[in-house]
């Protein structure tokens, strides 16, 4: 599954009478899971060192007198392991009875209910009663850090979270304190759990002890609809699940992808959906007149802030707004030629959108041999701080905070954008540009002053964006856009790994996706016959752009695929591999 294509030494074992080739260095538990033989377990996690404390995965082995924990049992040639028998059934009942005696059984108010391994295993493997009639122990409930909350009474001390903080995150902010059945997870007084991926402890908590604060008492998990997607907060592009209910994103969770993010995602990405549900989301098409005082052909545009033209825009709709775009572009092209156009893409667009936008630019601006083409550029946010875990795997927080810069390099650089951004700025300020189309889609984006001011002086500024801000304020035609949770498309991460983003929700209000928008304009211009799905557009793109050849939504699947020839980064050993040395 995750292992690179190396020869794995295997031995022959039997599990429940079925013969299996078991990798020598892999616990029997993992081999069973890989072969569809389910063994319940809590403390075992494939990315962490083996602790062997929960005892839930006890099974029997032909070469051991006592029951063995399959998570810490490595296969012996010819050995037979039994995971389904009366004896094993009894063992599981025993462990579950013990696990529940001090558990508060407060499932009705527990956010884990519905995806809780304690519930699940009790239902599948447990007994329907308990003989425990004594008083239960009490352990603390507290916030461990800004993002993580602990409900100590529900903790089964499997220590996944402690091992995660030590082996993966690296700061070891968590410990088990006290002893015996007073054992409880805690932080050192005054040093809270604040590493950049702290929320992962909630993902790996098999019970209802740890939660990401953002999700506490928010939704019952069994109501959630889950969509596999890709995070948009940096160039790592973590594989995620977008969980929604009643038209709102409730949470993002990392999805295991050994080539991208292992099991993890960062705390910033985890709440990276928030802007998509913001009350001030742009959701209405608006069209205003071309900017007065700087109408076509009247010389140099004035630099410096100008009145945002928003007040002059009037509500419109998809069709009328598109007609306005077409009409204005047509006029500018006729009066000034292709050199009066500027098209500014964004490193937050999907590759399909980039592919269409590039084509749309040619269509709207036209081309006159010997004359300058449109000015082009791309918006991206500045680098943030990079972060890598202490050991292990593919996961990192990329300093590049744009989800698709790599895709932009592959689709737009050279072909569409051939000059540095400063040339775009010069041309925007020259007064020669009469029609600029800026695709934003970047939350909290603050464009550089020159860019912003130049836009304010251009007669026709089409802005496609998600949130109001300096860009939308300067638009003469405003086209609301879909956020990453509302659209289908492919994003290429910093290491050249293409993954599919899927719409989990419809865009707000009347908003149509950019994919629809661009295609509809192309259709009106007679450039294409019909509006395709993202999958269809991707197929066109794959046929045209070499790097994507032979890939399709089908081959990308849930985990994506490499689309660059860049040398793949050496895969670091995961926590356990590293621990083995």
């Amino acid at each position: 599954m995750s292992a690179p294509a190396k020869t794995v030494e295997t031995v022959k074992i039997k599990v429940n009478g079925k013969e299996l080739d078991a990798p020598k260095d892999q616990p029997v538990l993992q081999t069973c899971l890989d072969n569809g033989i389910y063994i319940p377990h809590y403390c075992y996690h494939p990315a962490l060192s083996i602790s062997g404390n929960c005892r839930m995965c006890l099974c029997t082995a032909s070469n051991a007198p006592k029951a063995v924990i399959s998570c810490a049992t490595f296969p012996a040639e010819g050995a037979e392991y039994t995971t389904e028998s009366e004896e094993v059934k009894k063992l599981r009942e025993i462990i579950l009875e013990f696990l529940l005696i001090n558990h508060p059984l407060d499932c009705p108010v527990c956010d884990q209910a519905g995806e809780c391994d304690l519930q699940e295993f009790s239902f599948r493997f447990g007994k329907d009663d308990s003989r425990f009639e004594e008083e239960k122990n009490y352990r603390h409930t507290k916030k461990l850090g800004t993002n993580v909350r602990l409900y100590g009474n529900r903790c089964i001390v499997c220590t996944r979270c402690v091992r995660f903080c030590e082996e993966i995150a690296g700061d070891a902010e968590l410990c088990v304190r006290e002893r015996g059945d007073s054992n409880i997870i805690d932080t050192f007084p005054g040093i809270p759990l604040e590493n950049p991926i702290s929320g992962c402890v909630a993902d790996i908590c098999p019970v209802g002890a740890l939660f990401v604060d953002d999700f506490v008492h928010k939704t019952r998990v069994f109501f959630l609809e889950s969509t596999t997607s890709v995070c948009n907060m940096c160039a790592t592009g973590c594989s995620i699940n977008v969980d929604t209910w009643q038209g709102e994103v409730q949470r993002l969770r990392p999805r295991h992808n050994p080539d991208v993010n292992d099991y993890w995602m960062c705390d910033r990405g985890r709440v990276g959906y928030k802007y998509s549900g913001a009350a001030e989301r742009l959701s209405r098409y608006e069209v205003g007149p071309a900017r007065a005082g700087s109408s076509a052909g009247d010389g140099k545009a004035k630099a410096g802030p100008t009145d945002p033209p928003r007040s002059t825009r009037a509500p419109s709709d998809f069709g009328k707004a598109l007609a306005a775009v077409s009409d204005r572009a047509e006029r500018v092209r006729r009066e000034h030629g292709p050199g009066a156009f500027a098209f500014v893409a964004s490193a937050w667009m999907s590759v399909e959108e980039m592919f269409l936008f590039r084509r749309l630019a040619t269509t709207l601006a036209g081309a006159v041999p010997g004359e300058a083409g449109p000015a082009t550029g791309i918006l991206a946010v500045a680098d943030g701080e990079a972060w890598t875990p202490r050991v292990g795997g593919a996961f990192k927080i990329d300093s590049d905070r744009n989800p698709n810069r790599k895709g932009a390099e592959m689709l737009l650089l050279g072909s569409f954008i051939s000059e540095p951004f400063s040339v775009l700025l010069d041309r925007l300020e020259s007064g020669a540009i009469k029609f600029a189309w800026v695709v934003g889609g970047i939350p909290d984006f603050s464009p550089m002053d020159r860019f912003r001011d130049a836009l304010g002086a251009i007669s026709n500024v089409v802005v496609t964006d998600i949130l109001p801000g300096p860009l939308s304020e300067r638009a003469t035609i405003l086209l609301p856009a879909a956020s990453f949770v509302e659209k289908d498309g492919v994003f290429v991460n910093g290491r050249g790994w293409a993954q599919r983003c899927r719409a989990a929700l419809p865009p707000p209000g009347e908003t149509r996706t950019e994919l629809d928008l661009f295609q509809e304009l192309l259709r009106r211009a007679g450039e294409r016959e019909r509006v395709l799905s993202a999958q269809g557009v991707y197929a066109e793109l794959a046929a045209e752009v070499g790097a994507f050849a032979d890939t399709s939504y089908k081959t990308l699947g849930a985990l994506g695929a490499r689309v660059t020839d860049d040398e793949p980064a050496e895969r670091e050993p995961t926590g356990r591999e590293a621990a083995k040395r």
């Binding site: 929960c54 005892r55 839930m56 001090n102 425990f132 088990v176 059945d181």
Partner: protein, 443 residues
Amino acid sequence: MSAISKPSDTLAFEPVLTRYIGKKDSHTLDFYLSHGGYDAAKRVVRDYKPDEVIDAVKKSGLRGRGGAGFPCGLKWSFVPKKTDKPKYLVCNADESEPGTFKDRVINEEDPHQLLEGILITCWAVGIETAYIYIRGEMWRGAQRLKAAIDEAYAKGYLGKKIFGKKFNLDVTVHRGAGAYICGEETGMLSSLEGGRGYPKLKPPFPAVEGLFRCPTVVNNVETLANLPHIFNRGIEWYRSIGTEESPGPKLFCVSGHVNKPGVYERPLGIPLRELIYDVCGGIPGDRGIRAVIPGGSSAPFLGPDELDTPMSYEGLKDAGSMLGSAGVIVLDDTTDLLSALLNVGKFYHHESCGQCTPCREGCGWVEKILQRMHDGRGRSEDIDLVDEICNQMVGKTICVLSDALAMPAQSVLKKFRPELEKLIAQGRPDVLCELAREPSPAL
């Protein structure tokens, strides 16, 4: 009962391990040297090849004195001969099994005997670093051991080129800090590595991968103290003491209701009755015996009809109990067994490290039920329930701490059931439900 070879004449027995205990300055190097100290180690290091030492120890039949009784020479032979990793010896001086106080005597009164045993072991196994892990509470033992180590370094018995051979050895005293589980050999290793005293998953066993993930021998203090004598007096002599399966002298710790509690060195196999009546002067007030714990509180209780059990590994095993650390706790016939069992339950609950589910949850559960029974709120089904919980605790954990509660508890439930049933039926705390009403150093 299987055929058990007769122990040697216990009355004619001359102690060796405790020979100098009580003598003035017995803990000093001068004293030790003036009584033939380090002769054995010198001879072994100069004249024996390491393999020959291991062979000799195997032949002597020396079994681990810490509790499990594992053959010492065999344990050493599991350490890989060819390895590029360093090897370690950890001497288990974390004596904390209730009713056990034998190693304390050696550490405090004859530490050089232990150091000599350590020298022999390290020569045999090819070890250059040894640690003595001593209980944090035993401040005097730690002091005496440190002083003895300093003396040995000064004399050249530790350090580089010991006895003129290519043999280096460093010994360090490492104090624990109050955790019974650190007496479990892998819990001890975790603690020595600077962590919580969590027992480690086995395999790998310490001999292959122990301290700092290197091959490690873990031996009890008394085990190591036996070694100089084996090489001073010979294997034949050694095997002439004790039984065929349990050769050698043994330190028995007798406490509780006996007239002369203390540490007594006797041959393995001495009958329990002889130990209690002849050695320890019988029961105060000539009262009868209700029960005896023969091997530290982890050992199943014996009833008054089992006093002829030989105090050997095999003898006690046949009697359904174990020699363990040979901590003999005698309970006279005024003792309330439920209180005694509750005390044992509290101990294991308090000392469970909390790693494994069955132990973490089971020990506390058992204690809670026993407490309830003790408080006069027992139910008739509680006896079977505790027995069943104990069954659930046995054999499912990383170490045997949960077994160490389950085994004695089950023995009491089985052997003294009518008494417990009577207590439950009374439904109120009996006057007997206290182990003693006064602090009673003298009984």
